[in-house]
């Protein structure tokens, strides 16, 4: 069944995908639907067909959005295609409209400046837990009152969600989240000033997907704040893993 998922003992909910961080007001119109984040890994989805449709220099997240769309065929996609996302995603919208005409694409832009706060980014939790909570929070709000802040973070991770979640395991508990993920939790995904915020003195990894335009910002900020710039294409390689481990190791020892 296209665009719906069967539920035990009840009628199927409409399947609604979203890309990026769409405005809350648009998301609210679909609260009764089953919401799926198309930027994130969905079980059982193969990237093969999407890869065939895209040039080789499409980043892993763009590939994933298309793969999820082709496999899940949501009835509606709420698409944040403004400054809060990226040109590649915006152009991908045209491809989706042409290749999957049954999907209704709602193009939106989220230029909100209303700060929702960043308690998850600044909490004591493990990095993987933080990212997971932030991404879940847009679908069903998370209870943030239980979060303990980490006032002296041992490290920071700047960037977008990694295509390979294994990257998060390399960081110590309390690692602060910066960059677009911080903007995402704050519900201000186009806030470039917040995206560029880096606290001084915290060893920071500036992470971007290979081929993503955010690499320009990541490399620039890494130089500016004496952090480490790492780009990764899909699965984290031994080299990328070693760079992150070594950087955190040296900084811990004052080098």
């Amino acid at each position: 069944m296209i665009g719906n998922r069967e539920h035990k003992g009840g009628k199927a909910k409409k399947l609604v995908g979203f890309i990026g961080c769409p405005p809350q007001a648009v998301m609210a119109r679909f609260r009764d639907a089953e919401l799926v984040d198309l930027d994130n890994r969905q079980p059982g989805v193969s990237p093969t067909e999407a890869k065939d449709m895209l040039p080789v220099n499409a980043c892993a997240i763009i590939q994933r959005i298309l793969a999820n769309t082709l496999a899940l065929k949501p009835e509606v996609i709420i698409f944040d295609d403004g400054y809060s996302k990226c040109d590649n995603a915006r152009f991908l919208g045209n491809l989706i409209e042409d290749r999957v005409p049954d999907v209704r694409l709602i193009r939106t832009q989220n230029d909100s400046k209303n700060s929702a706060g960043t308690p998850i980014c600044d909490s004591h939790l493990l990095l993987a837990e933080k990212v997971s909570l932030i991404l879940d929070d847009i679908i069903s709000p998370v209870d943030k009152s239980i979060l303990r802040p980490c006032p002296d973070p041992p490290a920071a991770f700047w960037g977008v969600p990694g295509a390979d979640e294994a990257v998060y395991e390399l960081f110590p508990p309390g690692t602060q989240l910066l960059g677009w993920l911080r903007c995402f939790e704050n519900r201000t995904p186009a806030d470039l000033e917040l995206e560029c915020y880096v606290p001084p003195g915290v060893p920071t990894i500036f992470f971007a997907q290979t081929f993503c335009s955010k690499n320009i910002l990541a490399k620039h900020l890494a130089r500016k704040y004496n952090g480490l710039y790492v780009d990764s294409d899909g699965v984290l390689t031994r080299s990328e893993r070693a760079q992150i481990e070594a950087f955190l190791h040296f900084r811990k020892r004052g080098h």
Binding site: N226, L228, Y229, T237, R238, S239, A242, Q243, E245, A246, F247, H249, F250, R251, G254, H255
Partner: protein
């Protein structure tokens, strides 16, 4: 006491901390050999504890370099890697097994094949535009087939590898070199004119292991 080892793709560098003995063995001859602390491409299940190669390289260079601003490049058989320090802190590092792959291995293979005296070969006048050993080998044999002398082709080939590694580390005016290439006079002379190459020898990563061992104790 401890046995520290850098298990490279072709060669293993070993240090016995008690006797101070250092030795280099072919990795393929050390199937049952185990170290206490180890680093390198072929470390799996060969040591009580393994240390990431970039950590070993950075640590080891800090023991040998009296400077807070420098870049150290390690050219191994299979890959190239570097660490750059600015004001005594790690500023950049990278480890490439793709561009730069098989650099040392290919060069060793080729030089053994032609049995040439490296000290007698002059640096190349040309540069083969090569990004890895395998692609470079194809160009090398093409140049020889086109009438270039073996020595001249080898020199251009080596300059191509050196240039590629030099670009990889961001083209500093001066840098330290680690690994087997420190003993290759042609490679040392194949960097762009005016660039100062300071060889640290083949035991830099092992010295980096020694730092970790001392901290463990």
């Amino acid at each position: 006491m401890a046995v520290l080892a850098d298990f490279g793709t072709s060669w293993t560098k070993i240090l016995d901390t008690e006797s101070g003995e250092r030795r280099i063995e072919k990795t393929k001859d050390l199937a049952s050999f185990k170290a206490d602390l180890a680093t390198g491409h072929n470390t799996n299940n060969r040591a009580r504890r393994t240390v990431n190669e970039l950590i070993a390289l950075g640590n080891g260079s800090m023991q040998q370099v009296d400077n807070k601003e420098y870049t150290v490049l390690d050219v191994g058989s299979r890959d190239v890697k570097y660490v750059k320090f600015v004001r005594g802190k790690v500023a950049e590092m990278n480890w490439s097994a793709k561009c730069g792959a098989l650099t040392g291995f290919t060069l060793e293979l080729i030089l053994n094949y032609f049995s040439v005296d490296l000290a007698r070969i002059k640096p190349g006048k040309g540069t083969m535009g090569i990004t890895c050993g395998v692609l470079g080998m194809e160009q090398l044999f093409e140049a020889i087939a086109s009438g270039q002398s073996i020595e001249a082709a080898l020199a251009d080939f080596t300059r191509g590898l050196a240039t590629n590694a030099y670009q990889f580390i961001g083209r500093p005016r001066r840098f330290y070199l680690s690994g087997g290439m420190c003993e290759n006079p042609l490679f040392l002379k194949s960097f762009p004119p005016g660039v100062e190459v300071l060889p640290l020898g083949r035991f830099v990563l092992v010295e980096g292991l020694r730092c970790e061992y001392e901290l463990e104790r």
